[in-house]
Every structure is written in structure tokens, then in C-alpha cells.
Amino acid sequence: LHRNLLTPNSYEDERVESDDPEEMFQNIQHQKEIIANIRTRPWPMRRKLKVLKQAREIVLKYEGRLTRTRGYQTAGADLLKKLSRLLYNIVVLFIPWEVRIKKIESHFGSGVASYFIFLRWLFGINIVLTILTGAFIVLPELLAGAPFGTTRSKTIPKEHMASAQDLDTIWSLGGYLQYSVLFYGYYGSVRKIGTAGYRLPLAYFLVGMAVFAYSFIILLRKMAKNSRLSLASASDENFTFCWRVFCAWDYLIGNPEAAESKGAAIVNNIREAICEEQEKKKETSLAVLISLRILANILVLLSLAGSIYIIYFVVDRSQKLEQEKPELTLWEKNEVSVVVSLITMIAPSAFELVAQLEMYHPRTSLRFQLARFLVLYLGNLYSLIIALLDKVNIMSSAVIATILDTANTTRSSMTPMALSNLTTVFEKNKQDQCWETYVGQEMLKLSIIDMIFTVASILLIDFIRGLVVRYLSDCCCWDLESKFPEYGEFKIAENVLHLIYNQGMIWMGAFFSPCLPAFNVMKLIGLMYLRSWAVLTCNVPHQQVFRASRSNNFYLAMLLFMLFLCMLPTIFAIVRYRPSQHCGPFSGQEKIYDIISDTVETDFPLWFGKVMSYVTSPIVVLPAVLLLFMLIYYLQAIARSLKFTNNQLRMQLQTERTEDKKKVFQLAAGTLLLSADQTTEQQESDVTSHEASIQTPSPRRNGNVTNFQSPVRRGNSIRTISQSASRSELNHSGVPGTSRSPSVSSATTLKMLLFHTQNQIESIVVYSPSPRYSDPSEPVYRKTIHTLHPVERIITAQGCVGRRGHTTRYVIVNEHEPRKHLLRSATRIPRHYLMEEPAEIVELYPRNIKRYTARAIHHQPHLHREEEEEEQGPSSRRRMPLGKSLRPKSLSDLHQPAHFYIGERAESHCSMAKGPYEAHEEEEEEGEMDWGELDQCQPQAKARGAEQVLVRTRRYVPSAGRHSASPSRGRHVEAHVKPKVKQKLETPLTESDSASVASSSDQQNSSVDQYIQVIHNKDRYLKADTRHGKLAKKKSKTSCDPNVTEVNDLVCSNV
């Protein structure tokens, strides 16, 4: 939880004078917290500056008095903070393309920028992959491996030597490139190389696997982070309309053209939603539509099948050509990759045309498009790799055939001539058969050709078209800009998919060509610059875009899918095929993965091999797999049950809301009836009543409102009754404007507290992390706050959980700390929250029950108005049910009937006193002073542990005593009104107070009931209120720390 409730105290804290170093330290810590969190407050800068300055002054002032070590500590912390800030500033500088992306973002919005952010992220991954392969494979091989030309696998065969430097050979990655670190075949199979004995083959295998492992981990982590960021996917709540309106505008858009298209998109979007709502189904020539769609799908399938066939055919043809012709032309060498790239370029446009046939909703059609593209890309890659592997198969079988053939011939005719002839053939085959290199070559070739095509398409389709449209639109008979050629749209989804496809190629080929990631890094850099340039110069943003963050996980999911599918062929090749016998790090082995068992056998101690054999035996593996399955099932079950409870909670919330509303109306009626004879009742009844004539009657006192206590009420219903206390006189007359600031700020704090509470409840219901809350209304309504009496804004938020049939009651303060609370009646006493516009909240209490009252002011202006209305008469009041009903936090609480109370302190105090209110107002000034001290004491108490807290809380007993309408009440009131505020921790009064409270309630309560109270010992009512508010606020703060809260906030007195 954010400690956003703290700041306003800074004013009061200034006045704290204490010699207790502990206290002082707490105070300083407190101030530091203020300083640390100040930026999260929605205040104007001036105010923040002021508060910051004050807090700093205090820190400076008191810090000197503390021990030296503390001073050093804090100084160190300061330094650390400064350093981290500096570091952050520097880091920001070094994020690549930050400025560029920001620029694009500010022109085209977050959608387009998301493509570049995704690109940058991929770039980061590729950098790591490059480092992995570079540092562990390429560099060792270059440094310590056998140099070029020393072994057969590292020499260019004689018949190729002549053409090895030709451009077209190099271009098709033959010749020198083929026999270089670029490809698998070059790497030596010596177990240890160099003086240090680097195990290159092992490293090769491990790095090959690490590439996949790293990609998986980084992807999954990113996805998890994303899904944590956006709770939307988790909750099935539907805010279609709200989002379309509230979150529609992309504030980053600074380009008028982009703004225009965005505006149009928003209008469409809203219209669309409205239309969908109005007529869920449109029945326009369904038969035609369906047949069209079927046709479209057939077309798409046909083109998919066609593309796959073409690729297969091309690979097959290239293989045949290779066998038949000794020299291949440039086209023949690159045929495969060119065809594949062409297909990936052309097919999407074809799909788009087809999609227009279908007449889907744009959103759906985009999804279809994306799915089709993905299938196409995957199909391309797969058919390519399958064709390649097929070729590999044929190659190896051909080699075996040759060998057999050779053997036969050698046996039959032992002519030396034939023998030499055969050896050459044999040797030729040996070198040619390096299928890993061949696959690597093809992948790299594909990647290069793909890059060329991308560049060409950007230049031709986007740039030239943009030029034509811009400069020829004047001399053309139709408007080029808005009609046919238009500007190229930046199709985010398609482009992202292309990136994914590209990355898939890398993953697929990385094992066979260790330099592929490095190449991809360069390719991505180029792409970044080219694309961003193209976007800024000649593109307009796509109208139907996947919005940034929502798409992020979608993209990532596709990437993950791609990774998985691209890993499969590699793994398959590794497992299924025998490595080439005369090239590559695994030559001579039966299977590539034999390197592991080999290493385990020879390089590790014997026991390790044994352990490994045990671990890999079915005895261990099977149970492990089973366990995994069980775990998965278990987690799934938990997720399902959570979802279920979520739904239930929501349902409950809704039903209770409606019930609440009914109650509120009844209550309003009750108030009307009762307002007449309130004055007399107030004096007679023991129940805490509210000042003036405009109160909500407490149910006990007035039988009229019995429905509040009706046992029929559902247990965990939460009620708020807001009482619009007419405190207008107090508000207006009391405090001189200058002295107000502290109380104002505290008032807001408490207001926030209630807000905060609501928010928490809300978040509890939906199982999201409770949103941090910030001071909601301060800046806007500053002015109005001034007109109000500050002290009354203090809120004490307390909850109470009553359990039916049990005598033990729980009071929950701030919904976090369970509190036992004495309730007199065995029946659950429903409390109602009623929120008026100003959201004053008051609770109705039965007599003899402690009241914890709270007021929440949502918006002062309204409050103000309301109060004036109240002055005229309670009947004019409007009541609204509180926005969120309070809920027990944990599921386990659910079975208990729970009540949450929010009571209003100020009112009760006033009512208790029965004195003229004007008096309180006068005392207010002093009250503010006290308040600070109290505030300061609080953390200290926290630090000192539960015992201290207990005592501390007891200090507040008097006010509670006043609440409890026991005969002893008067006495207490006397006692507490008089004494000056002594801020010693243990006041003699406290014990007696709590005792008296207990006894008073005892009279009417079953003896098993337990109390937990948080009580003031402040004398002045108003002040007490404030303090109480503070206390509650503190609590809400401490509630972040579950460990502390229990001890901190519970005061238990068994009765």
C-alpha cells in the first residue's frame, strides 16, 4: 500500500518538541517518507514544494540531535538516493532509440510506438543471443580452434577453390563463407581446444540449448509482467463503453493528421459500440454472407496450400538442380529463399483482399488476418525446414549408398585406377554431405533475402508511393491522398508479425549457424532506422490498430508460439539425425546429444554419472512428470475457485447495493419522523446522539428504525449510513483562516482514508492488488475546504464484524485488522453507510455500543451545499448509498456475517457533550497543537511494540466512554473535557476509562463479549476527533504491514 495518507501531517509535526530520540527518529523517518512519496500526490507544485521544504527543515533540525550513527545512516541513504537518481538519469540516456521512439510516439500514438518498442525488445534478446553464441562458440573457435585450412572440414575443396571468391558464390553463402565460423561445419570436433582445454563441442551443444532456454525464460517473464500490469485480462469485467470513452484518446498524438484519423477512429468506435448495443444482430442476407465467408476461407486455405507446395517444390527442384548441374546460376542458388520471401510478401495482401469478401467486423477480421498470417509464416518456415530435412535424409542415404557401392566395387574390381576414382567421389561426398551447414546456409540466405525484400517494400511501397501521392496529387484527376493510392498505412499487426516471423527464422537456424543472431542484430538495427524513417516521412497510422499494451501480450503470445514451433524442427533434427561424419563439432558421434553423456562419463567423477543415470531413469522422471501434472491441476483448480468466488462476491455486492438502497430510503423516512422530538430524546437517551436536530436517529433509541437491526439481514452486508450532520455553524464560525491549514490537510487525509477504504474494498472484491490511493480532491477543491470546518472532516473508519449467535464480535478497522467489538445485542446489527454527495458517513449505533464514526467527504462543494440544505431541514436531504460496500478482506471471512462500520466521531462527541458547540470551536486552536503531538507519538508507539500500543490506544478511552451511554458517562466527560492535553503515554485516566467503558457496556452485554477499542483521551471533542482520525489514519498506514498491524492496533480488554 502506498503511504499516501501521511503527508499532510507535516504541518503538525513541526510543532513536535520531544527529547526522546526514539520519537525524534520516528518523526524524522516520517518526514522522510513524506519526502519520498511526495511526488505521488496530485498537488500543485507550489504546495509540494512547501511541504517538502517543511519536511526537510524538520529533518535537518532534528537530525543533528540524533546520534552520530543515525546521522551517517541517513546521510548514506541520501547519497544512495542521489546516486540512484543519477544512475537512472544515465540509464535513460543509454536506452537505445528512446528519443526516436518518443518522437514516433508523440506523432502517431502508442500503437505505432508499440511496434518499435517490440522491435527494440527483440533487439535486446538478439543481443544477448549474440553474446551467448559469440562468446562461447565463435570466439573460442577463432582463438583456439584449428585455423582455416588445417583440417578437411575447414578447407575449401579444390574443385570449388576457383569459384570460391566469386561474388555469386559469396552471395549464396558458398565458398569462403561456407567454410567459416558462420556455419556449423567449420567448427572442430576436438574435445578440448586451446591451452585451457575449452570443450568446444560441449559448449556448442549447451549454447544451442541455452539460446532456446533464454528465449523461453525472457518471453515468459515478460508475459507474466505484462499480465500483471494489465489486470484486464484477469477480470472479466466489461467496461467496453467506459474504455471507449475514458481511455479513447491517445494523449501522445501530436500530429494533426494522426489526431484527425484518431478522432475519426474514436467516433467509429463509439458508433460501432452503440450500434452493436442497439441491434445485436444484423440479418442481412445471411446465406450470401456465409457462402462468401466459406469462399474466402477456401481461398485462403488454397493459397496456404499453394504456398506450401511451392516452397516444397522449389526446395526439391534446387536439390535436383544441384545434383544435375555442377554450376548453378545465381537465381538457382537463391531460388528457395527468394520464393519464400516473395510468398511472405505477397500472400498477406492477397489475404487482405480475401478478407474484404468476408465482411467481418474490422476487429474480427483483423484477428482472422493475424491468424492467417501466422499460419502462413509458420507454414512457410515449416515447409522449408521439412523440405530441407527431407533433402538431408536423401543426402545421407545417398552417401550410404555410395559407400556401399564403393565397397562393392572395391571388392569386385581392385583396380587402383577405380580406387582412386572412388576415393575422390567419396571425399567429395564427405564434404558435401554436411547437412547442418546446408540448413544454416538456407536459413541465413532466407534471412538476408527477407531483409532485402523488406527494404525494397519499404522503399517502393511506402516511400515511392508517398512521393507520388504527395507530389502528383495536384496533377491528377482524383484525389490521390484520400482515394486510390493513398499513403501507405503503417500496419502494426502485420509488421509485428513479420518481426515474429523473422525471429522464428533466427531461432530455427541459430543452432546451425551460430552467427545468425549477430546478423539479426544488424538487421534489426537497420530495420529500426528504416522503419522509423518511413513511418515519420510517408506513413499514416493504421486505423484499426491493436492498442499498445493490450497487443503486447498478444504479440508475445504469438512470439512464444513461434519460438515453440521453431524449436521443434531443431530439436527434431538434433534428436533424429545423425550428425555429419566429417564436419562440425559432433562429427563422429552417433547422435548430437551424445556429447552430454560423453562428458558426464569422462569429465565428471563417477558418482555424478551414477546420480545422473538415476535422475534420468524412469523411476525419477515419471513421478516428476506426474507431480508436475498434479501441480498444474491444482493451480488450475485454485484459479477456477478464485474466479468463482470473485463472481460470487460481485453478485453479493450487487444484491446488497440494492438492499442498501431500500434501507436508505427507509432511513430517510425515519429521519423525517424523528427529527421533531430529537432534542428531548437526545438528553434522555443514553445513546450517543448527534448534535443539533438533524441527525440520523440511532436505531436503538428509536424503535422506528428497527429494520436496521433486523436479524434477517445477511451477515456480511455492509452498511453505511451517512448522517448529514449540520455542522455548518461550526464550520463557518470557528477557525480563523490562517490557522486552518493543518486541520485542512488532516481533514483531507481522513477523507482520503475513507476513499482509500472504499478502494480497498473494491479491490478486494475483484482480487486485484489494492490500488494505492492518492489524495483525491485536494487541489481542486482547495477553496471550498477553507470554508469548511476542518476538524469535522476527520474520519474514523472502523469496521465491525458481528457474528450471529456468538458473543464475540470483531471490529475491523480499515478492513484490515480484525477487532473484537462489543455489541450488545445478539442479533447482528446492520450498519448502513449512506453516502450523500458529500459522502458524509455516519453510523447508527444501538445504545451502549461504542460508536466509531467516520465522515467521509468526497467533495466539499457538495458537502457544503448539503449542509446548508440541512440547516433548512433534514427533509431536503438527498441520500445516496455509498459507492462501495465494505467487504471482508479474505475469503475465510466470508462465512462470518460481517459488518463494517464507519462511524462519525465528531458528531458523537458533540452530542455527548451536550454543551454549546461554540465552545468547542474556540478550543479548536489548541486542539490543533495537540494533534501534532499525538501524531508524533503514534509511530513511536508502533515501534515500541504491542504493549505500548495498547496503552496508547487506551488513552483514547474517554471519548469512547462518552460514547457508551453508560451512567458513568457524565463523569468521564467531565474528566476529559477539563484536563489539559498531557501527551504522556500513560495517563492515569486511561485505565479507569477503559474499565468504565467496559463496565458500562457490561451492564447490558453478555459477559463473553469482548472489546477492542480505539479510544481518545483527548479532552476536546473536536480535537479528539482529529486525533482519532489521525489514529485511524496511522492504522491505515500500518495496515500495509500485516505483521505490525496485529500488534499495533488491537486493544483487547476482556470483559
Binding site: L49, G109, L231, C247, Y251, S549, K884
Partner: protein, 189 residues
Amino acid sequence: MGTTASQLGKDLLSEYQELTFLTKQEILLAHKRFSELLTKDEKDVPNVRVPMERILTLPELKSNPFRKRICLVFSTSEHKDGSLTFEDFLDLLSAFSDSATMEIKSHYAFRIFDFDDDGTLDCDDLQQLVNCLTGETEDTRLTQDEMRQLISNILEESDIDKDGTVNLSEFQHVISRSPDFISSFKIVL
């Protein structure tokens, strides 16, 4: 860069960093951009207020349909004229910055949308909000029926306490679940 830094003062700069979500570079850039808005004789005046009209010439705000509201919300001016001091300007940028929290952003978004400054989004506010988004021209503007439908739908979704208005916590509830809000509620200089 060096001159702007000295103009701003080191202490102040670090304080601004403390108080906003901006980095040093961003603050300096903001200062530069803000200074560009000042006229010659205003340059030496401390705490000078730049009137809303001039603020709105910034390209980052120019095409924003809520530009006036943004100025009004962030202005600390007594006259409610939407004029901004540099500090107000920083506040604005901070709230719209990358690293600002969801709370801050949603809080200010709420206030931007709260056209009558009464602390709740009622029907009128929503209507104005939608009109801002759609523009006032005849063909883009929603019809009365559409508007009614839209607003009732919005309230149905977000108005948890059914009081006919959307208050801040309801608003934040809705907003915090939106996947797009955080990434789009940004203004970058």
C-alpha cells in the same frame, strides 16, 4: 544545456526531480520549451504565467481535444484562466510522464473529464466529454439518441453505487482495469 541548467538552479532542479516523475533531462527540456513560449520581457520575471492560448500552441497539446481542460486543471491561477507557470507546466508533464503512477494519472484524468469541476462525472460531463472526442461537426457528432444510449451504457458499467454519476473511485476502478490507459495517458515533449 548548460545555460538552461544554471537558469533553473541546481537546488530547484533537484527539488523538481524529487517532486515530479521527470528526469533531469526532461525537466531541462521542459524548461527550454517553456522558455520558448515566453515573450522577451517576460523572460526575467520570476513565476511568470503563460496564458492558455500560448500554451496551446505547443504541438503536443495542439491536437488534443482536452487541451483546454488540461490547462485549466493544471493551472494554479486564481482567475481560472488556464494560464500555467513553469511549475504548473512541470506538474502537467509529470502527471503525463511515463513513470507517473496509475493513481496520479487517473486522478488527473478524472479532473480533466470533470468539466464542471464538481467532483463527479455526471451526464453533462459525459456528454461534453463525448463531444470533445467526436468533435463538434455535424457528421461526427452523435445524435441525441446515440448520446443517451452511450451515457446510459457508461453509467451502467461504471456507476457502481447507481447515483447517476461517476465519482472518482468508480472512475479509478474502471480506469485501472483498462489496459490502454497508462500507455496512452502520456504527453512527451
